[in-house]
Amino acid sequence: MDIAQSFSAALVLIWGGDPAFVAIVRLSLAVTLTAVAVAALIGLPVGALLALSRFSGRGLVIVLINALMGLPPVVAGLLVFLLLSRSGPLGPLGLLFTPTAMVVAQAILVLPIVIAITRQLVEDLHGEYREHLASLGLTGLRAIPTLLWDGRFALATAILAGFGRASAEVGAVLIVGGNIAGYTRTMTTAIALETSKGDLPLALGLGIVLILLTLGINAVTYAASRVGARFAG
């Protein structure tokens, strides 16, 4: 099969809504969206807390989290694998090679991005708002809700960046998910497998969906910043 034929076969897969194909896309989205939601739920308050608190070693923590933004996905996968493997500390939970394990691995990849960007943003915003908020009695942690809300458009960008990283990575989900057909096979792991097997139409079809997804994320990011400029100034 040449490339042109593979390409048209891939389009047929997408247009036709092949059940196996759709299942892979759906699982990928479910895993990534859940991971991003978990990371946002933890990362937003932790980032804000880090922005407003002062303790010795704070600089070290910030450098560490910034560095973790570049954590190689395979290493994150390996760490989660060790945690969840039968002899690991969380082994008895029996989570290895499940979608939950993939959510944990991806959340670990997204979390540093959300924390680092939230920290920076909230710190800058607090510099600007501090006196007014203190005047209103919103000192210390009581300033956090205002700061998170006023940073909402920029924070949405941070979360979308996290979504981008999670949806594109292959190493972590491959290690902890195991690429089990119909259960833990995601778009990226399927592409890796099908390409090596020679099933180019499926790999190409999933690749096209991934690219469209990335385009979509960027369009939403752009729109968020435009809306932010218009409504928040």
Binding site: H132, S135, L136, T146, G233
Partner: protein
């Protein structure tokens, strides 16, 4: 709207021996004055004389290194409500609509959902900002932002309002509007303490003048007395328009 009659007041405010240090330098020192109810007191002096610092110390944004700031009620709070507010030189505008800016301040003061909306609308109406209610506050002009900042402070129903050079970044037209607002507040019975380095403004507005120089209170006099015959050489030079260092 029913007007609550106050049985107690946070005023007078008595400041004694006030000092503030930063980086080993004493920026204000031995400042003492009393602010009774009513009237407009102007803190005047050259840049770096300690006007803004004194206001921030009184408002509780900074902790004095020495001295006392004594309200008639503890910390200027009565029944859980802080009765002093502050307007800054550069208004801090939240990334929300004008109305939401006022509502946020009221929420911070513990006002309930519907009370917030009512009082915020009332504040915008009071200062001619009704048609700006839904505008993003940060997209408004400098003059409008400062008017909103004053409306936002007014919504909190303070007994005393600190104003830190509220017009120093505004053009003459906007300055006039702000000065009218300030006089309206005074007529309403709000006690005002304003820092300015603008002599013309001090002449137009002040009932009483506190002249600061190099972090010390050099003169405390009725406005007429101060402008017609200042007691100190520094004040005379300042009034004469000389640069005082």
């Amino acid at each position: 709207m029913t007007v609550m009659r106050e049985t107690t007041s946070v005023l007078p405010l008595a400041v004694t021996g006030l000092a503030f240090e930063a980086g080993g330098k004493r920026l204000v020192d031995a400042i003492g004055f009393t602010i009774p109810r009513g009237g407009l007191t102007v803190l005047i002096g050259p840049n770096g004389s300690g006007k803004s610092l004194t206001l921030r110390l009184c408002h509780g944004l900074l902790t004095p290194s020495a001295g006392r700031i004594a309200w008639a009620a503890d910390h200027g709070v009565i029944a859980g409500h802080k009765r002093h507010a502050m307007v800054f030189q550069k208004p801090v505008m939240l990334r929300r609509s004008a109305l939401a800016n006022v509502e946020h301040a009221l929420a911070a003061a513990g006002a309930g959902w519907s009370e917030r909306r009512t009082r915020a609308r009332e504040a915008l109406d009071r200062f001619g900002l009704t048609d700006k209610a839904d505008r993003p506050a940060r997209l408004m002009s400098g003059g409008e932002q400062q008017r909103l900042a004053i409306a936002r402070a007014w919504a909190l129903r303070p007994e005393i309002l600190f104003l830190d050079e509220p017009t120093s970044q505004l053009d003459p037209g906007a300055t006039r509007q702000i000065e009218q607002m300030i006089l309206a507040l005074k007529a309403e019975g709000v006690t005002l303490v304003m820092a300015t380095h603008d002599m013309g403004q001090a002449r137009r507005l002040a009932d009483r003048v506190l002249f600061l120089h190099r972090g010390r209170l050099v003169e405390d006099a009725a406005a007429e007395t101060f402008f017609s015959g200042p007691a100190s050489a520094e004040a005379r030079a300042f009034i004469a328009g000389d640069l005082v260092w």
